[in-house]
Amino acid sequence: MATEPATKGAAPAATPSATPAETPSATPAGTAPAPAGKKNLLGLIVLALAVIYPLAPFIDWGLAAIGAPAANLDRHLVSIFVFAMLALALNLQVGYAGLLQLGISAFFAIGVYTAAILTVAKYPFQLELWGALVAAPIAAAGAGLLLGAPTLRLRGDYLALVTLGFAEVMRVLLLNLESVTDGPRGLNPVPAPWLPSTVESLAGRAATTGHLHQLVIYYTALGCLVALVVVFRNIEKSRLGRAFVALREDELASACVGQNPSRIKLIAFAGGAAVAGLAGALYATNLTTTAEPNTYDFNYSVMVLCCVIIGGLGSVRGALLGAAVLVGFDNVASPMLTRWMQKSAGSDTGNVLLTFSNWRWIIFGTALVLMMRYRPRGLWPAERRREHDGDAQPARAQEGSA
């Protein structure tokens, strides 16, 4: 009984001295949840729009009113989802773990071709999308393990070359092993996803079968993307996420505090490969073909890298933003600008300078160079990096003391 008043008496005495010291750091901590909440709200609004979009034709009307090419936007949206998944995959490898990977297209292609081989009529498996969604990530992760196990100990720039070389080897294999991959023609048609017949007949009254299948692909892709975003946000806060960041910032130090760098690297590498494989399976189903192997070239990998870097390395929302910006540029802005340029120049279609997509690599290249110089953390950087970044807290502390 005697001790309790003593502690009660001590507590008020301690509080005043603690308050001035805590306030400077408490202020940013206190304000942090509000913008985070706003961002979550923004994310939820975007998600809600994405969910209702295919069911709400009025969005198409609205887009048509402002002159955007709205037709078939859902197919473009699926490619944005797929691209965003690729960006998340690369973000896991480059952004979290700091492994410069220049061959993400190889793992994407493995996913695409695994899905195709398991579903097309040429092969006896006929597993449908649902089987492919499981098998493609496993195949890609397996390839990631096989490539990663011997090479991940290499220095950063050498690793970049190995991954680049692997992607080129993969592309040449897909192109030349015609008996397996049908060479430049690609494997097709990749069938639409199977649905229980009751669903088919029920929904068949509301929509055409083709539209129904498109809806299924749309929602599957959206669902996968949302699940991945949730998983990655949780990884960021988890022990594993901090292990990734520690590895990226200082491999030696992370080993010294008891992490196993080669294991963590392998997890990041294989995990990213698996996500890329999943994106591949969805891509093949959306396109109903594997497309030609030259699609999965170095430029494709660099496109994904661009989008991760532009959005912000190590930042989930940055990767999503980057994917939307890049696919939007290619599919919406670029055709519109081309039309505008050719109209204002008197419709000279023969001039390469007047086709806006021909400027693509100058624009992306300049973006990479400028981002590295002036905004290396991207348009929408990761929170954790910003904390480390700032001299903000000492500065505020000085203000407080003055």
Binding site: T151, N351, N358, R360, F364, V369
Partner: protein, 318 residues
């Protein structure tokens, strides 16, 4: 394979290897002083080949008399070397130098960005409405590079082994340039400074070496070699396109790594090995597998012998 065929492929491999070696030297020297894979180097080579093509067209080299042609070729080689050096030094000054203290990823990503900018510029360059560009008139189509060097068989047209003055010009001039480079690095004050910076930049700075000047000089020499290589390549292959930089650049980089990056002799040996392997793989396996073969070699070397064939424990870097 007959003996003649083997020697023929060897010759093809060596001449191609000379071009790879010239590009590889630029990669290797820059890596030596900065530890940067200058991804844009191959595309600089490509731009220089377009520059050479434009100059030759402007000079009307296809119709010049042999004496005049020789003078013009020397002038074009000089101009292209200057072009390569100037562009490379400019890049270093504007793009790479501000990133000196940035994380290692930053200059590499910038270099990739520059590489794409260059490829795009090459595409536009190929679209210029100039008569000098034979071949396709479309921007992306390969352009015919004038076939200016004599192309008859020195062993007589009936011989099955073919060695032409063209091959000899490529091999001899490349060897001469490499010898000059070796002398420069080995015996001049600048060369000594370059070796010092490659060995330890901080210690070099403490010894009073102007490190930034040495880095600029390294970029200048690398660019000049790429410019020279571009003319040689054009005269030998007779076709250029905006995509030659990417592929030859990667092969050259493989060569540099194979020989031990940062090592001058290694880059030359690596270039020759890559050229010869490429020639035989095209002959025996098929040209469509070329890239797969070479990149598999690259991966295997990096995994089992990351310091390269000639890279000893303490490689003599540039």
């Amino acid at each position: 394979m007959t003996v003649d065929l083997i020697f023929q492929q060897l010759l093809i491999g060596i001449t191609n290897g000379m071009v790879f070696a010239l590009i590889a030297l630029g990669y290797s020297m820059v890596y030596g002083v900065l530890e940067l894979i200058n991804f844009a180097h191959g595309d600089l080579f490509m731009l220089a080949s377009f520059f050479a093509l434009t100059l030759l067209g402007a000079l009307g080299a296809s119709n010049a008399s042999p004496g005049l042609l020789a003078v013009e070729l020397v002038a074009v080689v000089g101009a292209c070397a200057l072009f390569g050096a100037a562009v490379n030094v400019g890049l270093e000054r504007v793009v790479y130098r501000p990133l000196r203290n940035a994380p290692k990823l930053a200059p590499l990503v910038s270099a990739i960005g520059l590489s794409f900018i260059f490829q795009n510029l090459g595409l536009f360059w190929g679209a210029l409405p100039m008569d000098v560009f034979g071949g396709g008139t479309k921007a992306a189509a390969p352009k015919a590079f004038p076939d200016l060097l004599p192309n008859y068989n020195l062993f007589g047209e009936s011989s099955s082994f073919r060695l032409t003055p063209k091959d000899l010009v490529v091999i001899v001039s490349s060897l001469a340039v490499m010898a000059a480079l070796y002398a420069l690095v080995k015996h001049t004050k600048l060369g000594k400074a370059m070796r010092a910076v490659a060995h330890d930049p901080r210690a070099a700075r403490l010894m009073g070496i102007d490190v930034e000047r040495v880095i600029a000089a390294t970029f200048a020499i690398g660019g000049a070699l790429a410019g020279f290589g571009a003319v040689i390549y054009g005269l030998y292959i007779n076709t250029v396109s905006y995509q030659i930089g990417y592929q030859n650049g990667l092969y050259a980089f493989t060569a540099a790594v194979l020989g031990g990056i940062g090592n001058i002799a290694g880059a030359v040996v690596g270039g020759l090995v890559i050229g010869i392997v490429r020639a035989f793989s095209d002959q025996l396996i098929g040209a469509q597998w070329q890239q797969a073969v070479l990149f598999t070699i690259l991966i295997v070397i990096l995994v089992f012998r990351p310091s390269g064939l000639l890279g000893a424990h303490a490689p003599e870097k540039v």
